[in-house]
Subunit: 250 residues, 2 copies
Amino acid sequence: MIHPQHIAEKSDSHCPHDKKVSCGDCRLNTICLPISFHIEDIDRVNQIIQRSKPLQKGEYLFRANETFSSVYAIRSGAVKSLTISQNGNEQVTGFYLPGELVGMDGLADNCYTNSVIALETASICEIPFNRLEELSLKVPSLQRHIFQLMSREITQEQQVIALLSKSNAEARIASLLLSISGRNRRRNLSTNKFLLPMSRTDIGNFLGLTIETVSRVLTRLKKSNVLSVDKKEITINDMSALQQLAKGTE
Amino acid sequence: MIHPQHIAEKSDSHCPHDKKVSCGDCRLNTICLPISFHIEDIDRVNQIIQRSKPLQKGEYLFRANETFSSVYAIRSGAVKSLTISQNGNEQVTGFYLPGELVGMDGLADNCYTNSVIALETASICEIPFNRLEELSLKVPSLQRHIFQLMSREITQEQQVIALLSKSNAEARIASLLLSISGRNRRRNLSTNKFLLPMSRTDIGNFLGLTIETVSRVLTRLKKSNVLSVDKKEITINDMSALQQLAKGTE
DNA sequence: CAAACTATTTGACTAAAATCAACTATTTAC
DNA sequence: GTAAATAGTTGATTTTAGTCAAATAGTTTG
């Protein structure tokens, strides 16, 4: 079995030439752009996209309540989105990996409802939304593509809702790991060995569990040989057992 | 304080003339349609919308895995959306009230990921998506409106994610009640007295709680005089206490 | 390099919600 | 109108995850 992991990791990571990569050359364009897209259309999209210098870990991409202007495609690295709940606590609402879009929540009321923070060094494409909107009036397949991207965000969040309604901690953590694994498949990365970009605290916050529970569940899964856990490196040793756990015991 | 509740309830409920109501006359059009919309544009939308006979309680609007064709606006009544999780159990992913849209999850992969079932008799406008798509290429404010509707779906689901990550049962139930209360405000219905359209089982399933816990929490809130609960009729006696509970104790 | 800080793990104990079980109220079907 | 089925409530007990506390590992800073 071929593992194009190393090649992929290399082009995923930030390098000084990153900024010059056009959409036509970007490895992720099958995710970002409509499949049936003419060269000239790719070029039109390419022209409106802004590539700024990469975010460092902990830096904000944007903050909740700022005026909405752009959506952002993650090109490398990872980010988390979070809202400040009524009681003033942070609530992590999602993790976004390369090829995924953040900021689409900002459209509804013309301001972002989430803050987005880099979990590690991340290079990001900024897509000014009013220009994307204009272009999509002229290019029907682009309009459809944006609809689909937003729809996918909706379905993925529904999956998170289903995940969080699951009763037990093991099922939640197993589901999160499987989600990351599945998203790696799309990027031709290894599905059974990867680095978690987020801390245990972030995982716990996202899944509605305490950090202690996250730690204990990971230890348990390690002891039962379903996973190997070395700091942030996760190896899924028994995929079907993990899938079974994700289903919950009920 | 004026309560336009009775009038509203009346025009919300199904009556034999419902089918003839055009978008221009529909009480909910400020929710469904862009605000800055010309008469002729309203008419164009009106022409593509199909109004079928109302769904009875328990009937399906559509089922998961069916080919995507339309989005649906709830005109009266209420529906729930649900996915069948891996273990074969139903997972309620949302409740939809008049003026709200369902089916937008179907776009991503051209098939619905949820089934939608009427919680009570519901009249519904069917909006064939390919015709809406065509029209929105010609009417920029409509395209923007659809983007916004989808964005709102995303933000609302993020709120559900935040709600479910909350630790305790009281906070979840308080949040759900406040959500319904807030959605009633938009429709000019009473914010502190309403009928729950869904069963305790549906609430439990949605919130990741057992039916017993739902029942006990409602009893507790009744005893502490925050709510009056009479079967499905909820009266919020102490709104600020409920808001406090929704924040969680943490 | 050591000190300070942060992240993670582990253990003992507690609290909250699940489970199991019985019962009551409400709705549906005949 | 009564029986059967469904929905909801309440109580006793168990399980799970949370809380509190302490230790360890890893990272950052001067």
